[in-house]
C-alpha cells in the first residue's frame, strides 16, 4: 500500500516524490505547501489527460489533519459552478457561526469537494487503508467530472442525490456500478 497516513504525516515531501516517480499518480504534480503541528497541506496540479483535450489545468489543496481526516479544496477561479462541492462560507457567516458557539469544519469554511457519499458501504468509500494515491486519483477524476458537468450540464456517473433521506436510511445506488468498465 502506497501513501499511508504515517508516511504522509511523517515525510510528506518524500511521499509526494514517490507518488509521482512510481507512476502511482499520473497527469499531476504533487507538492507539499505546508507542514504545521496539526496539519499537512499537499497541492496537486492536474493537467488534462488525452481524452479531455481543452479541459483546464486544475489545482487543489489537500489538507490532512492530525486525527486523519482529509479535506480537498480546489484553487482557482471563484466564478465557476460546482455540482459536488460545499459552498465556501462567507466571512460574515463564519463570524455568525463562531459567535453562536457553533463548531465549524474546515470542509465548510473553505468549500471542500464532496468526493463520496457517507451512506455508501465501505468498499465504495475511501479510507487511509486504501492509500493516498487512490485518494488523489479520486480528486483528479472529481475535478474532471465537475468540468464535464459545466460543459454538458450533467454529472457523468451515478452520484447520490443531495441531502439526507427523510427516513434517515442511506440512499441506495440505483444501478450499482452499471457505469463501471
Amino acid at each position: 500500500m502506497l501513501g499511508s497516513f504515517d508516511e504522509v504525516w511523517g515525510d510528506p515531501a518524500r511521499c509526494c516524490q514517490v507518488l509521482v516517480s512510481t507512476g502511482a499518480v499520473t497527469h499531476m504534480s504533487v507538492d507539499v505547501v505546508a507542514r504545521a503541528p496539526r496539519l499537512r497541506i499537499i497541492e496537486i496540479t492536474c493537467v488534462p489527460p488525452p481524452t479531455f483535450e481543452g479541459y483546464p489545468v486544475e489545482v487543489a489543496r489537500v489538507t490532512v489533519f492530525a486525527e486523519g481526516s482529509v479535506v480537498t479544496v480546489p484553487v482557482g477561479p471563484t466564478d465557476r459552478t460546482w455540482v459536488h462541492r460545499y459552498p465556501p462560507m462567507s466571512f460574515d457567516a463564519l463570524l455568525t457561526h463562531l459567535g453562536a458557539g457553533l463548531r465549524v469544519q474546515w470542509l465548510n469554511v473553505a468549500g471542500g469537494l464532496c468526493l463520496e457519499y457517507p451512506g455508501d458501504p465501505e468498499m465504495y468509500r475511501w479510507n487511509w487503508s486504501k492509500g493516498v494515491d487512490t485518494y488523489l486519483q479520486m480528486v483528479q477524476r472529481h475535478l474532471l467530472a465537475e468540468e464535464f458537468a459545466r460543459r454538458y450540464g450533467k454529472w457523468p456517473v451515478e452520484d447520490a442525490p443531495h441531502g439526507l433521506r427523510p427516513d434517515g436510511e442511506p440512499r441506495p445506488r440505483t444501478s450499482p456500478l452499471a457505469w463501471a468498465a
Binding site: L2, E116, Y124, R125, V157, A181
Partner: protein, 328 residues
C-alpha cells in the same frame, strides 16, 4: 467514426483533383507531341512527385523529362548546351502556346501556360544507351563541370512504384500523409518532399495500416535527420543537402511529432480512439476529420465511467474506490 474511417477520409482529401490530374496529363502529352514533331525530342516522360503519385494537393508543378534526340548531343555538348536546348524548346512551344511564360532554371525550363493553375518544369536530357540513367541539363555548370549531369530519376520512379506494389498500393498514399504532417508543422520548406518520401521509404517496407506507417515514418525521420541517408534508390546521399543549422532547428520538432504520433497509436490501441483522433487532427490539420463535439462528449463520459468504475489513467496506478459524489 472509427480511426480507420478517418484515415480513409484523409486519404481522399490528399488526392490530387482528378480533373486537374487529367488536364496535366493531357497537357504533358500535347507538349510532348509538339516537341517530338519539331524534331527536338524523341520522347517525354513525367518525373518527380507527380509521376510517383506522392504529390499532395493542390497540383502546383509538374516535372517532365524531355529526352532530346541523340543527334543534338554534339550541338548541345558545350557548357552552353543546356541553355541552348532550353532556348530551342522555348522557341517551339511559344508558337504553339501563345502567352506562355518561360523561365530558365538550373535544370529545367519553367513553363507557365495561361489558363492553367499548375506549371511545368521541363528538364532537357539525353538518354544513356543500355541504361536507365539519363543526363540532365545543368545551366549553371562552371568550367570543368559537366553541363549534362547523370540522373537516376527513372530508377527512383521504379523503386517507389515497386515499394507501392509491395505495400498493397498504400505506400504513395502514406507518403502524402507524412508530407501533410510536415506541411502542417511548417517544415515543408526546411525538409523538401524527396527527403520526406525517403524517410517513409526507409520506414515502411510492407503493407502497414496508415496510422502505424505515419508514426513509423516520423520516428524514422527523427532518427535519420542529422545522420547520413539516401533517397529510395540507395544511390543518392541526399542528407548532405540539408544545412546543419536547419537540422538543429528541425530535429526537436520532428521528435515531438514522432512522440505525438506514438501516443496516438497507444491511445487507439487502448481503445481511446477519440483521444487518438484528436492528436491526428492536430498533426494533419483540417484535412483529417477531427472528432465532433458529440463524439468528444461520449468519449469523455466513457472515460469518466471507467475512472469511477475501477479504471485508471495509467497502468502504474491502482484503482480508486468507486465512490458516489454527494452533498448534504
Amino acid at each position: 467514426m472509427k480511426i480507420t474511417e478517418r484515415f480513409a477520409e484523409l486519404d481522399e482529401n490528399l488526392k490530387l483533383d482528378p480533373t486537374e490530374r487529367k488536364r496535366a496529363q493531357e497537357l504533358h502529352q500535347e507538349i510532348s507531341d509538339v516537341l517530338i514533331e519539331a524534331g527536338i525530342a524523341k520522347r517525354c516522360r513525367l518525373q518527380g512527385s507527380f509521376a510517383r503519385k506522392t504529390m499532395r494537393p493542390p497540383l502546383h508543378d509538374v516535372d517532365k523529362v524531355v529526352e532530346l534526340v541523340d543527334a543534338l548531343r554534339t550541338e548541345f555538348g558545350g557548357l552552353n548546351g543546356p541553355a541552348q536546348a532550353m532556348e530551342q524548346i522555348r522557341g517551339v512551344l511559344m508558337h504553339h502556346f501563345p502567352g506562355a511564360v518561360f523561365e530558365v532554371k538550373k535544370h529545367s525550363l519553367g513553363i507557365e501556360l495561361p489558363g492553367y493553375d499548375f506549371d511545368f518544369d521541363a528538364v532537357p536530357a539525353f538518354t544513356v544507351p543500355e541504361s536507365t540513367l539519363i543526363e540532365i541539363a545543368n545551366t549553371q555548370a562552371g568550367i570543368g563541370e559537366d553541363a549534362w549531369k547523370t540522373s537516376n530519376t527513372y530508377d527512383l520512379i521504379d523503386v517507389v512504384s515497386a515499394r507501392n506494389i509491395a505495400c498493397g498500393g498504400r505506400f504513395v498514399r502514406q507518403v502524402r500523409m507524412v508530407k501533410q504532417v510536415f506541411h502542417e508543422a511548417g517544415l515543408s520548406e526546411s525538409v523538401p518532399g524527396l527527403h520526406v518520401e525517403s524517410f517513409t521509404y526507409w520506414a515502411v517496407t510492407e503493407a502497414t495500416d496508415h496510422a502505424a506507417a505515419v508514426a513509423a515514418s516520423l520516428y524514422k525521420a527523427a532518427e535519420l535527420l542529422g545522420g547520413t541517408y539516401t533517397d529510395p534508390t540507395g544511390v543518392d546521399t541526399i542528407s548532405s543537402r540539408i544545412e546543419p543549422w536547419t537540422v538543429q532547428a528541425v530535429r526537436p520538432q520532428l521528435q515531438s511529432l514522432a512522440a505525438q504520433a506514438a501516443q496516438a497509436l497507444e491511445l487507439a490501441a487502448s481503445g481511446d480512439e477519440i483521444a487518438a483522433a484528436d492528436i491526428w487532427a492536430r498533426l494533419f490539420g483540417d484535412c483529417f476529420p477531427a472528432p465532433t463535439a458529440e463524439e468528444q462528449q461520449e468519449a469523455q463520459q466513457r472515460k469518466l465511467e471507467t475512472l469511477y468504475g475501477g479504471g485508471t489513467l495509467a497502468g502504474t496506478s491502482r484503482p480508486a474506490p468507486s465512490t458516489r459524489a454527494w452533498r448534504p
